[in-house]
Point group: C2
């Protein structure tokens, strides 16, 4: 294995998607459990989300979004649109909870949902089955599962950004090099250009 | 603990910084170890970095950047500028290595460096000591340590983004909701606006 090989973009493979989905609870556990409350509750200002809020949101997704939508596709195809997902449900549902209990619940729900998913023994032709998103229209089961994965990664990214932002003043002059703090566009295309900011340092 | 309390931004506290720094190796381990090679070597196109490259970069930082600079500040203050950091050293140094060995090396180096840091028994007045960055000019030890933390989080964010980007086509219409894929500005300020994209779903 070298850093110059295998650069092709992997396409959707069920086992790989599941492998990534299974990692999110331990990633969040390693990142957040037992952190001081100031860090768990920190956000990006105004009504933006804290790590605590994000974990609650992920729990609500396990309960009402991803696997339920898989089942709607399998049972009803495009005939029945998905239920709308409440993006703010966690604010009430997480009230009074500890982060530790939310992390435990998320891990248990994710494990149960991946077991249920495995039990469905989805075939390639199942992955091509279509459902109906209330806003986006026709989607496939494969797209739903890929989105589940990307959504996890989106929130790991978000939590990292929220946490780094707490030190936006503390880093002093280094702020200019830290894209995560400066808020400069995240994507970068050249090793010798934008990543100099992305990757901090100099 | 509720989602409405303790929103104030935490300022730099040595023990908290160390707690976050200690988490990065297990976070990366949970996220990456044993993933298929296509995912480990995936990047954002052209000469951008893969998760494999990032871990090598973090190793090089442990070896040549963070703690060495702490020591330069303590020993020389502003009289001696930091050595420049080679952002591309990992491409040669990681050649032929496995990700597993890089993750192990990073974890061992980080642990050793945090032990060395603790042994320095830095005081608040130490944290105010000044050093000289070759490009940024005067910086403090406290800023250096805060940057070490933010830099870790920046790379966790980057790896999440690189991974999610592999599914940029696979998610189909959901692409519009996934900021991590669409590349829309990462920062968001209102729970009821931009986060609708950030947090996927609908």
């Amino acid at each position: 294995m070298t850093s110059q090989t295998d650069r092709a973009r992997p396409s959707f493979v069920m086992e790989e998607a599941v492998a990534i989905l299974a990692r999110t609870p331990p990633v969040l556990d390693a990142l957040l459990r037992d952190l001081p409350n100031d860090w768990i509750m920190a956000n990006e200002g105004d009504d933006t989300w804290s790590p605590f809020d994000v974990v609650g949101h992920l729990i609500h997704g396990e309960q009402t979004d991803w696997l339920p939508r898989v089942k709607i596709i399998l049972d009803h195809g495009e005939a029945r649109a998905f239920d709308k997902f409440d993006r703010f449900a966690q604010h009430a549902k997480s009230e009074g909870r500890t982060l530790a209990s939310l992390l435990d619940e998320f891990a248990a729900l994710r494990q149960a949902n991946l077991s249920d998913l495995a039990a469905l023994r989805l075939t390639n032709s199942d992955l091509a089955r279509r459902g109906r998103h209330p806003e986006l229209g026709t989607v496939t089961l494969r797209q739903l599962l890929a989105t589940w994965v990307a959504h996890d990664l989106d929130h790991i990214m978000q939590i990292s950004r929220v946490m780094a932002g707490q030190y936006s003043d503390e880093v002093g002059p280094w702020r200019a090099y830290l894209r995560i703090i400066s808020g400069a566009q995240g994507r970068s295309n050249r090793r010798d250009r934008a990543p100099l900011q992305d990757l901090a340092e100099g």
